[in-house]
Symmetry: C2
Subunit: 255 residues, 2 copies
């Protein structure tokens, strides 16, 4: 038709209005039929334009209500300060952080025995298909799904530390429980990537279109070998990870 398709013209115009702050006072966009008249386009064409903005994460829609500009509120997660022996793992750092931010945390928890996937096997240095223990956490902040955390332990470790495979919390924290068995975590390897959620992830995290997930894989090591692999998924629009490296005395001075 034209060098620029009509639905893109619609999307570009609305995107411009959004970034210019037109909807800051009231986030509600005009209805499809209004936009249809304004751009002299069919309802389907307007919908194509709006859908583009939805997949960009700029707006969202709900039946009977209309389209709204999305608002963000970012939660900061310090990954380098996260764990050490004096600071129990297994959700406690998370609870502490969330409570400190004036929000209300809660989580569901389960334990499973699973054969290692190619991904976890490579990181735990065990054979693919060998038994691993999965301790799985589904975390919420103010009842909004926030993240899932899956920690896999190699089979040899579950034998040396049988409470890992038992359902229910380990009161003193898994890190301390393991340390008491002379298995101390002395280093981590963190991997971070981003992609669009699978349908399963969309369900668990209640993610709508246009929001990526961040994947954070932390492999923990003793002085001789890997002892756990934790895969955390976050909503990309609600979280930002950070790492502190080196001497940051210059950061705190006038903060």
């Amino acid at each position: 038709m034209s060098p620029q398709p009509k639905y893109r013209v619609v999307a570009d115009a609305l995107r411009r209005e959004i970034t210019d702050g037109k909807y800051e006072s009231s986030p509600r966009l005009p209805s499809e039929s209004e936009l249809s008249a304004r751009f002299d386009a069919s309802r389907n064409t307007v919908r194509a334009g709006l859908n583009l903005l939805v997949t960009e994460g700029l707006i969202s829609s709900s039946q009977g209500l209309g389209y709204e500009v999305r608002s963000h509120e970012v939660f900061e997660l310090n990954a380098s300060r996260f764990e050490n022996l004096s600071f129990p793992q297994n959700g406690d750092a998370y609870s502490t952080d969330v409570t400190a931010a004036g929000r209300r945390p809660h989580q569901t928890f389960r334990v499973e025995m699973l054969p290692a996937t190619a991904y976890t096997a490579a990181r735990l240095k065990v054979d693919a298909g060998s038994t691993t223990v999965l301790r799985f956490c589904h975390r919420f902040v103010d009842d909004v799904p926030w993240s899932t955390q899956a920690t896999y332990y190699p089979g040899w470790l579950a034998e040396a530390a049988p409470r890992l495979a038992e359902p229910g919390d380990i009161a003193e924290g898994t890190t301390r429980y393991l340390a008491d068995r002379e298995i101390e975590q002395v280093g981590y390897f963190d991997e971070i990537s981003a992609r669009m959620p699978t349908p399963e992830e969309s369900r668990l995290l209640e993610i709508s279109a246009g929001v990526p997930v961040m994947l954070w894989t932390r492999t923990g090591y003793s002085d001789t070998r890997p002892i756990r692999c934790t895969i955390t998924t976050f909503r990309g629009d609600l979280n930002r990870m950070n790492y502190e490296i080196g001497d940051l005395s210059g950061r705190d001075e006038t903060l």
Copy 2:
């Protein structure tokens, strides 16, 4: 209509086939008209289902060719080992890493003077609107756009180190150039987030629908204050960042 809309049935069926490996030998999907017949749905409905998979990053389409399952090849980026005094910054680590992976790097480069945005001002601890120097890199791997890197320096530093504001490379690397002027980087603060690309980012990185960008902000500090802020954008499907923390002798043993 039914509990599950028809276009979702189409998407779910094809997603299932993809994850089951049906298209591993040949990544080409059936044409829209074939799918239309198979699912007894109009072409538009089939297109809605396919579009869902596109926005999930699973498939891509090109006019005249058809739909294809997307393939990934992930590039690992070590962020904790990235820079130090004996290892020049400004793209050299990138060139080294890329060349080591048997790929061919190249980059374009420009320098600008810009007023600080709220984001950079907060990190550099300068007033919003005050002058900063931007050194901007657009990087390619085998001629595929890979990342953009924007480093902002505070005005006071540009006065102390005037070559920062001059166009063209700094041969010995900016880190060393600054160190020679008694401005030494002793720590970093890294922030990582993910979102869908802006149209500008889609253009620079040639990102198609369904691929998020990763944003990596590194603020570098001297022993007294921030001296730079580097914002890097990556294609989320092609990159994975990692950090090494603590003692990782247990990692290298049988790798």
